[in-house]
């Protein structure tokens, strides 16, 4: 294993490791734009130039493999001068768009200019003028002037989605990123180029001008779009709106971006997953309980639900349909409740659309279809049930489970949907972003969903409603006071979940028992 000395620290690295990778593995950042772990090496930005002893010129750290005995300096005068020089070159034609650019606050040009630039511009010539705010796709806007030509977006479309929409056009200083005239950036992963772009040349239409990134409260959680369970960071707006004098905070999801998990989604997320929150925000929420079509208090609704479910359970006419987006804790809590009330067939609704693709997208749109099935079994649709408990968290009308006409429905879910409209009792529960829990993806990997913001209206975590219904039915409800308690009980009862705790899930999840890698 080659040994390299970087800024006086000796380290041993695997053969083939580049200087940049060696530094990053130690938490030592060498500034760079064009390099990305998930893409081929371009070596064009020249920001990562470092000084290797015995080399006549500075070398780029992203491309130079470590050789045994190599001595590298990343902070000496030569390197500092080169970095300042590169920063100056980057900025001479760059438009001063910071006040209106989404990237502000997470922009590498800004950060490196402060850290490595000279702070003074010597450029007195006119700046190059190119096209701004170009609509190149359903979700992406291009600003050619801001572009620093790092080619990450081109490499993404060539190497990851293999759709090749983007390219360099013209030559020299007039080079620009562009899209073939008449074509659109319309692959299912187009939004990733926005994450990749180190500056504000590519921006997401849905996030454009929504808020400043420093107003976002970020939560690491799991996407609820399909059974892949891409790891994401949800950004909830914290900017005080100017429309109310009381300084009300927005507290709505402003964007979702992927985070790295090499076991699940690498660095990427599909556009549909990126924008699930819009569908959620666009759907009608159930905010207060409803009994027999009229608004009711939570306690009245819980009492009525308990009455209906207990009666049906006793008569053996009870069944349940569970959304595959429900977190495992909710499914387990309701299974426990139903068992105590007399039991009945439980069916995990199937949400399938399209096909699995070669990248991330799964046809199974149930983010927790695997976890729900492990808990509730693979029972068929309960057609014989006269009373149905519908645990809903499906977004589209088309995705709602079909319920036979005339069935008595007890609905517990976040959205106003078909079932809830005809329900005898409808109780609002927290949506995917409003409560924590555990998803199990199609690989059998258990991952932690985290609450991003408070539930709207009277909604609350579904497992709490289960406990309240059980108590209202006069049964002994388990003494769970948090999701962790429910998970612990779940792990003790269902073998596949054995050994899983909130701590063990961490940020990247763990393979559940019996799956590959467990």
């Amino acid at each position: 294993m080659p040994k390299v000395t970087i800024d006086g620290h000796e380290m041993e690295v695997a053969p083939g490791t580049t200087i940049l990778q060696a530094c990053l593995s130690r938490g030592h950042e060498i500034p760079h734009y064009c390099y990305h772990d998930g893409l081929s090496i371009a070596g064009n930005c020249r920001m990562c130039l470092v000084d290797v002893e015995k080399q006549p010129k500075l070398v780029i750290g992203c491309y130079t493999p470590v050789a045994d005995g190599m001595v590298v300096h990343t902070e000496n005068e030569k390197v500092k001068k080169a970095r300042a020089a590169m920063m100056e070159f980057f900025l001479i034609n760059h438009p001063l768009d910071c006040p209106i650019c989404d990237q502000a606050g997470e922009c590498r040009l800004q950060e490196y200019a402060v850290e490595h630039g000279t702070g003074v511009s010597r450029y007195t010539e006119p700046k190059l003028a190119l096209a701004k705010a170009v609509d190149i796709g359903a979700h992406v806007t291009l600003d050619q002037e801001r572009c620093i030509q790092c080619s990450r977006c081109i490499r993404f479309c060539d190497e990851i989605t293999k759709t090749g929409e983007l390219g360099f056009f013209q030559r020299g200083e007039r080079s620009q990123i562009g899209i073939f005239p008449g074509k659109r950036l319309d692959n299912p992963y187009s939004g990733n180029v926005v994450d990749l772009c180190p500056v504000g040349a590519l921006t997401l239409k849905e996030f454009r001008f929504q808020t400043r990134v420093w107003y976002l409260r970020n939560t690491s959680t799991i996407c609820a779009g399909c059974a892949r369970g891409c790891n994401v960071v949800v950004g909830v707006g914290q900017q005080q709106t100017m429309m109310t004098t009381s300084g009300q905070i927005d507290d709505r999801i402003k964007r979702i971006v992927p985070r790295v998990n090499t076991e699940v989604n690498d660095w990427w997320i599909c556009d549909e997953g990126r924008l699930t929150y819009l569908r959620e925000q666009g759907s009608r929420r159930l905010v207060t309980s409803v009994v027999s079509g009229s608004a009711a208090t939570y306690d009245a609704a819980v009492a009525k639900a308990a009455e209906l479910l207990a009666a049906a359970g006793k008569a053996g006419t009870l069944g349940a349909i569970v959304s595959p987006r429900l977190v495992s804790e909710d499914v387990f809590a309701w299974k426990t409740a139903l068992d105590a009330l007399g039991g009945g067939p439980i069916h995990v609704h199937e949400l399938t659309r399209g096909e699995d693709d070669d990248l991330l997208i799964r046809a199974d749109k149930g983010a927790n279809s695997t976890g729900a099935a492990w808990i509730a079994g693979k029972g068929k649709a309960p057609v014989a049930a006269k009373t149905l408990l519908v645990l809903g968290d499906t977004l589209d009308a088309a995705d709602n489970p079909g319920v036979p006409a005339g069935t008595e429905i007890v609905y517990v879910g976040p959205f106003v949907m078909g079932a809830s409209r005809e329900a005898a009792v409808a109780i609002p529960s927290a949506s995917w972003s409003e409560a924590g829990g555990t998803f199990v993806n199609f690989q059998g990997r258990a991952q932690r969903v985290r609450r991003c913001h408070l539930p709207v209206g009277e909604a609350r975590p579904s497992w709490r409603i289960a406990l309240d219904v059980l108590a209202a039915a006069g049964a002994v409800a388990p003494a769970w006071s948090s999701e962790d308690d429910v998970l612990a009980a779940l792990a003790a009862k269902v073998p596949e979940f054995s050994g899983i705790t909130t701590e063990s899930l961490g940020l990247l999840g763990v393979p559940a028992r019996g799956t590959v890698g467990a």
Binding site: R46, M47, K57, A85, F89, Q149, G172, S175
Partner: protein, 434 residues
């Protein structure tokens, strides 16, 4: 006594492009000898011993370059020989002469090189503007194939080598060997990061050698007359062989002149070239190696035109494009024009060249047009310094080196433009032409 014409022996003869004429003058005997009685490695050794250095601009020892190729051909990774006929360095026009007037010399040299590196196809990458040379070469290839000098089973032997002419389409950067490969593969002419070097992984990831037209034109003579003979021409051991010098600018007889390596510059300009264009305008400056090398003042022109002598003088032989400037030349205007070239030709891949070349040109235009600022001269030097050594390929250096040399050696002229918004030479620079 005039030197023997070796490379240009056929130039000027009637029908010099025809195969019959080439054969009548002993053409393709070298190929016959090599294929018949030499091994590829033996041929490479001979070229190594000759001391032949690349004539494209870098002066890299040719035999050494050939020796980097694998000695056996992996059938999954054929060897490729590429002839760099992209001649675009300002001041250079020697390869064009050879291709237009003695195409078979170029082809024979190509075939010999292909034989040495065990290639079975050679692509001649010729700049798109050389339409006439392309047609001449293609006709010559047809003739050569018909006579079994190229194509299948050359001279009845086992070795086959196809010759393909590949036209560029207007990009100086494609003369850079890795950009040439990118272009040949059908991409934008972007230079590539090295390593890997072409001999390890070149076009289509296969072992590749790239040589200049004039370089390979020397090889038939090395084969025929031997490495020792080649060493006796020019200045042994490292500056050997005949050389084509391209003389242009303010001289009475611009043109291509052949002489052994090491021709004194004064002899080229004042004797072969007929001296200064105007008797009353003395020599002011000379760029000896194509515009990418540092300029020499008139008092620095007592120098031999070979690789090492010019290097010792702080410049380079490069492509041997000797551009002569007399006293009427505004050095600011000249440098602005040179800077425009690099701005126009930069591929745009890496930051310092892409942004820096345009910046240099704009500052120079301002100075030339009377809008220079006091800080501009040092700024030019600083920008050039920031470009040098930090780019993917040498085009950035090629823009920086002349800038640094012009500003340093003619600083008073630049300063005059800044201070007085007018030109020392009295020649009115044409403003607004850009």
């Amino acid at each position: 006594m005039p030197a023997e014409r070796i490379l240009t022996r056929n130039v000027g003869r009637p029908d010099s492009t025809a195969l019959a004429s080439y054969e009548a003058n002993g053409g393709y005997q070298a190929l016959r000898k090599a294929v018949g009685s030499m091994t590829p490695d033996g041929l490479t050794e001979e070229v190594k011993k000759s001391g032949l250095r690349g004539r494209g601009g870098a002066g890299f020892p040719t035999g050494l370059k050939w020796s980097f190729m694998p000695k056996e051909v992996d059938p999954k990774r054929p060897h490729y020989f590429l002839i760099n006929a992209d001649e675009s360095e300002p001041g250079t026009f020697k390869d064009r002469l050879l291709m237009e007037k003695d195409p078979h010399l170029v082809l024979e040299g190509t075939l010999l090189g292909a034989y040495a590196i065990r290639a079975s196809v050679a692509y001649i990458y010729i700049r798109g503007e050389f339409v006439h040379a392309t047609q001449v070469l293609e006709r010559a290839i047809e003739e050569a194939v018909a006579k079994r000098y190229a194509g299948k089973n050359i001279l009845g032997g086992a070795w086959s080598c196809e010759l393909v002419v590949h036209r560029g389409a207007g990009a100086y950067i494609c003369g850079e060997e890795t950009a040439l490969m990118s272009s040949l593969e059908g991409d934008r002419g972007y230079p590539r990061l090295k390593p890997p070097f072409p001999a390890a992984s070149g076009v289509w990831k296969c072992p590749t050698t790239i040589n200049n037209v004039e370089t390979v034109a020397n090889v038939p003579f090395i084969v025929e007359r031997g490495a020792d003979w080649f060493q006796s021409v020019g200045k042994a051991p490292k500056n050997t062989g005949p050389k084509l010098y391209c003389l242009s600018g303010h001289v009475r007889r611009p043109g291509v002149y052949e002489a052994p390596l090491g021709l004194p510059m004064k002899e080229l300009i004042h004797e072969l070239g007929g001296g200064m264009l105007h008797a009353d305008r003395p020599l002011k400056a000379v760029i000896p190696g194509g515009s990418s090398v540092p300029v020499l003042r008139a008092d620095e022109c007592d120098v031999d035109l070979d690789f090492d002598s010019l290097m010792a003088k702080g410049t380079m032989l490069g492509s041997a494009g000797i551009m002569v400037m007399d006293a009427s030349t505004c050095m600011v205007a000249a440098m602005a024009r040179i800077a425009h070239f690099y701005y126009h030709e930069s591929c745009g891949q890496c930051t310092p060249c892409r942004e820096g070349c345009g910046w240099l040109e704009r500052i120079l235009n301002r100075i030339e047009g009377g809008k220079g600022l006091q800080q501009d001269l040092d700024l030019l030097l600083s920008i050039s310094d920031n470009i040098m050594g930090n780019t993917i390929c040498a085009l950035g250096d090629a823009a920086a080196m002349p800038t640094i040399s012009f500003v340093k050696k003619f600083r008073d002229e630049f300063q005059h433009h800044v201070d007085h918004k007018s030109c020392l030479t009295g020649t009115l620079a044409l403003q607004g032409v850009r």
